[in-house]
Symmetry: C2
Subunit: 411 residues, 2 copies
């Protein structure tokens, strides 16, 4: 598969970041940049595109060839996209324009860190280069907190976001024990429920929340929801609920869309950055109780993807590695690809990395495996915990008082 | 002031927790419990009241005298109130009923961890005991993320909540650089703006957010708000705004109340656990721009007070200490009091602890010192940063790419 390094194309490199940031996307960036700088005979200058494809189209490139290593390491530990990100999916014409700019800068290596749309962009740019008979090595480097890329065990970025969500629920469960009531937490993830499911990873006891987990993979039924909540509340006197922002009814209509007036020009409902869904679900519950119940809703919002200081060490390491590997393959002469993560069989957590076709990741996404969801469709299974727990690294330890009762006195 | 230990009253102890939890309130609990267990000749049994005064009134007490120390230490590091909390402020009659129950259990030491209402409860219970000529040592142990107790430099619980808010804004600032737009974050604090002001503690560069900070201490003016935001946006192409949930107009009416229908039986608007204020402010901004601008609002909610794993080491240590000291004073024979924190003069951060009268903390609260707020009323001053930064412990380090531009090519 690999050409020998001596026959590799000599030229410059461009790397960009795309889509929603994560707290480890800069690990991938710095992993790739530092790896490229180990191959100075092949990669002459290392450029970063500001705000992804937009930076290429506008020729807004910065030179990372001589950026001090200590600074790069600081950036690696910094949340969000150090180069700036973009939500743009370029048209075929724009991909051609990008190609012309890359060519003008003698770019032979193009790396794009992002989700499935970014893989597709990389794929198209590669096609344009082939048509022009120009040797351009194009690699996609995976990232997404949604964990919904295809043909990979999991995605860099997910583990750290999952850790944030798990720790948030660990604390919220304790808070809800202190002051009992019904608590709804709305979690990011429009179509895939992995991050919402991660709410269960820190459960510290049998009666720990979340007690109910609603995923976009399962049709949401208001009646069933209210019944589920009432059942838990009757048993525990409290109830913590994890809800994906993307929950949809049996017809596929997002619950947020049903009631929200916030629809953008493409007809997409804005799900994040608004507390509307949480407030709506809280109202459903309040209305269903005749007695006065304490009901609260929090929407975790952008903290999930960018909170500074909560990072999964496993995730950080893997994000670094996929960045490094993409460059390694490219300088070995591999013309295109993406890096997938393969979990090794057997006890204990270990992974291999695999070179994959761009097309294996581009366009489509994946969802929660049905084995990760309970029969009732309102919780996750042990199979999910086993799958996801190794990805978040260490979680804090919590404790409970044993609660030996003092005999009552007659007053 | 102190009686000798030999003359101390021998009997049992009750400790309870009240009000909104913090991530270090259990440090105070465990500090007090372990200190009490060092004085077995004076304090015979150590009881915890479940859900504060409610647990006393219902005689729901647990015995902590023989709780394994390792378990207590785990609990000390666990967020929220391990004994359960309560929002109840007992009536004078209920305070009398509590006194009868404490007496029946031969309780001579009563400790109540909470805010100003808890200090008042302690104060009343102490008065009832005095009237009954019953020796009951009553201490308030301070906690509040709002940092609004009187006669103390700061309050246990604030530093950790401030750390969470600071780290959240550090990440959110990076997120907002990645995908530019206007971002509003709503922070807890009904009357005091300390926690909202803490949003500024992690600013990592001159252009770092929050760019605007709106506090309950300053009358909120919608027109001025929109103008402020437009000014920052025109300059930076982005704007991060910290808003207290308690912002109120010049007449003192909460902005959330103006538009919210969620008013409880006492006429209090529910501020936390709903995204309404953030959504409302986002709408104000969207309407004021003719062009399409990316505007998002997050409401940090309960994560601020209970997030598991983000703890200020300074705060944890001080919370532990005030719990220990309350018990120390009590077994020395001091009949009543609360523990205040006094910052030592001079360079570097160091504190002393001071025994204070219950009345010095009960009932009233305090606000942000005017010197902590800028002239325009839309930001905090360096004086605030100097005051609050030592309380949050270490913050994560972040980095920026130096951004050396690549010359554009003619295409």
């Amino acid at each position: 598969m690999a050409k020998s390094a001596s026959s590799a194309n000599v030229g410059n490199m461009v790397i960009g970041q795309s889509g929603g940031p994560t707290v480890v996307i800069n690990q991938s960036l710095i992993g790739a940049v530092l790896e490229a700088r180990r191959h100075k005979k092949v990669i002459q200058r290392v450029y970063g595109a500001l705000h992804g494809v937009q930076g290429i189209l506008k020729q807004e490139l910065i030179d990372l060839t001589d950026e001090p290593k200590a600074n790069l390491e600081l950036v690696a530990g910094t949340p969000a996209s150090a180069l700036g990100s973009v939500r743009k999916k370029p048209s075929a014409e724009e991909c051609r324009a990008m190609f012309e700019i890359l060519k003008a800068h003698n770019v032979r290596y193009f790396f794009y860190i992002g989700g499935n749309d970014s893989a597709e962009t990389a794929h198209i740019v590669r096609q344009v280069a082939i048509e022009a008979a120009y040797d351009l090595h194009v690699f996609h480097i995976p990232k997404t907190i949604d964990n919904d890329l295809r043909n990979t065990d999991h995605c860099p970025g997910f583990g750290s976001a999952a850790k944030f969500v798990a720790q948030a629920f660990m604390g919220d469960d304790m808070d809800n024990r202190s002051l009992k009531g019904i608590k709804i937490n709305v979690i990011m993830g429009r179509h895939a429920g992995f991050l919402t499911a991660a709410s269960a990873l820190g459960r510290a006891s049998k009666d720990a929340g979340p007690h109910l987990v609603y995923l976009p993979e399962v049709a949401f039924d208001e009646k069933q929801f209210v019944e589920d909540v009432k059942k838990v509340y009757a048993k525990l006197g409290r109830c913590i609920i994890a809800v994906s922002e993307g929950i949809a009814d049996a017809s596929g209509q997002a619950i947020a869309a049903k009631f929200s007036k916030e629809v953008d020009s493409h007809g997409n409902v804005q799900l994040s950055g608004s507390g509307a869904l949480g407030d709506l679900l809280a109202d459903m519950i309040k209305k269903s109780f005749t007695e006065k119940i304490r009901v609260r809703a929090d929407t975790f919002g952008y903290l999930q993807r960018s909170f500074c200081g909560v990072i999964s060490s496993v995730d950080a390491k893997e994000a670094r590695k996929v960045g490094e590997l993409a460059v390694k393959y490219a300088v070995e002469g591999v013309p295109e690809g993406t890096i997938s993560i393969v979990r090794k069989k057997g006890k204990g957590y270990a992974v291999d990395y695999k070179l994959n076709e761009l097309g294996a990741v581009a366009k489509l996404t994946t969802h929660m495996d049905p084995k990760f969801i309970n029969k009732e469709g309102n919780n996750v299974t042990k199979a999910f915990i086993d799958y996801a727990l190794p990805l978040v690294g260490d979680l804090p330890k919590v404790g409970f008082l044993s609660g030996k009762k003092v005999a009552k006195k007659k007053i």
